[in-house]
Amino acid sequence: MAASAVVPRRRPWALWLVVLGGLGLITWRMLYLHGVNEAFNAAFFAGAVVRSLQLGSLYALIALGYTMVYGIIRLINFAHGEVFMVGAFAAYFLFSRTPFSWPVALLVAAAIAFGVLQFLNFWRGRARDPIVLAGALVVFAVVAFALASTQLGWFWAMVASMFVTGVLGMTIDRVAYRPLRGAPRNSMLITAIAVSFFLQNFGILAFSNRQTPFRPASFFTGPLQFQVFGEPLFTSWMIVLVPSVTAVLVVALTLFVTRTRLGKAMRATAQDAETARMMGVNVDRVIATTFLLGSMLAAAAGVLWGMTFGSINQPAIFGILPGIKAFAAAVIGGIGSLPGAVVGGVLLGFLENFLTALFPRTEYFSGITEYKDTFAFLAMIVILLVRPSGIVGEDLSEKV
């Protein structure tokens, strides 16, 4: 009786008050800093904003993979950071070592064609469709020939790496997670950590054990300099490229999830896997697709990450920190929710870049830069205490 009496009170003005108040405080702080030191000018803050957006987009792309997998099988896929690492290294080999020798070219082309086959299946729906098989065969021939004869540019390396990494994600699901489908959730979690360690050490043996240059010939990595209210801002074209690629991929993913049959099956599985199975949804295929898409996004993030920072760390450490931070971003936004991952990722980018720019080192204050790696986790703790379902997450009761 008491429960029915509780009506959720809606206070839209409270949210606006918080947002406007926050913006006001930020503006006041920026003006104050400008008064303290001329170096904190409009270009300084504009630079912080564009870099926040850039870093946030990268976190968002990685966070999407975490949130999709969690949404479908309630698994925190700790190996996702390593999938991101493999994506970056795959692209590195694709643009720096091509043309490949024929055996390597055939092997890589087979992986790419398999990924494309899965992709074509989204549209045709059946596995042994002659059109799909023919399409994959054509892709295989063309890609094998291309890999063996020319050097790939960054864009095609990214696309190829997305398919290779997507197939890797599906393989991880098939080998490590699918045999444990009915097992307790902890078993899956421990397996995920094992896969993560396996990929780290495999990467050291197979890819590199050192800082690796990541500088494909590209217009976008070149310098970009413009004036903000008469002050020069030094940056690169990556500040345009990264958010744009992210936006395109997020829109494509949203369209897939909302407009296609497989996307509908995915949403159904997320709501209730058992019922979805009873309604004729092939749950294993939906899960495999989830891993494919999540890993593809991680690979794209890996390539953009490498191009943004010019070099990539060695495999054992490259994926860990971005991976865990992106996981925190997914929780902040509301794990299981696609818009939540994007919001969480971008918010994290602003926390790490814009917030540190708001509290820079001055004569009297040592700045908060040293603590920026903790912001992601602090924010996660705060969110879990205040609003466990995340900023845009659905109500918790629906999830359990």
């Binding site: 300084f44 870093l55 310098p223 070099s311 450490i317 540190t356």
Partner: protein, 379 residues
Amino acid sequence: MRRIAVTLAFALTLGGLALAQGTIKIGVFLELSGRMAVTGNDTLYGVRVANEQQPTVNGATVELSVCDNASTPEGSVVCANRFVDEGVVAVIGSYSSSHSIPAAGVLQPAGVVMVSTGSTNPATTQVGDYIFRIPYTDQFQGAVAAQYAHNDAGASSVAIFRQQDDDYSVGLSGFFKDAFEALGGRTTVLDFTANTVDFSAQINNLRSFNPDFIYYTGFCAEAASLVPQLRQQGFTQSILGGDASDDTQCPDGGGAAFDGFTFTSFGEPEVLTGAAAERAAEFRTAFEKSYTLDHFTGFTLSGADAYKVLVQAITDAGSTDHAAIRDALANLQDFPGVSGDITYVGTDGTPANRVMGLYAYQFSGNSWTKAVLKGISLE
């Protein structure tokens, strides 16, 4: 004929057995994987070539027990414990101070001599009387760098990049700061942690200070990200690095942004003088027979000398007793090493009169060379 062959084979077998019985073990722990793998491996090659040159001591064959610390303090402690269990005669290693100090904490109580090949933090040899090193300390390196920044580069305000979770970086930046402020300059310290990739927050902090010189005390895994970001964001100041910047990961990982990047590091044959230069050049010729020259750095010479002083100490001691080796090493005077003369008498385990080199990365197109600018000695 057949009889001779059989006899010969028999004699060889016996000889082999005799040798196998007379082996002594020297433990080598270095950064063979992880973020400092390049320097760790270059050092190991130096140890190996020195071992090929002097494979026996007191009639016993030296066996190297190599342990990879994976560029972590924990790995170094694991290696040190392994050496104690194996009962090694002495230990060589490691490159980084953050890895040498924890291992010294295990080896000193166990009474095993350790010779660090690359640790420059003063604290390393202060762990105890069983701990020695080949290079100079950061007190010297920091002072030299401060003088270079003040006198040669004419700087008055310097931004120091410090890796706050590394003993070497914290020590070196402190000595530089003291020395540079004593010369009348201003400094600010910007902290980062291992494996930082995005330096935009640190670079933001640089804006209001607006330095005219930058001193980098960290390692190349991070410098490869930092230096291109500095250049891209419009900071064109000269950058000076410590000896951790002497690593191919810097120019390979960071690319043309490293053009003109200057750093102080261990002496190479070109910066040494007199007989030491000849010995170093001779060693380089021997090194070339087994490895390619891109693996030859000042750290290689340091690794070779760590092996050579230990062999000398074991010879002088005439036994494999740990205390006797320590005493022999502490009494070493004017030992003709390939990185310069080594004297441990009257020191805390840091040889006097070390020679340091000043180098710079120079780019033409995408290929780079490490140019030798000058040698600097303590006097």
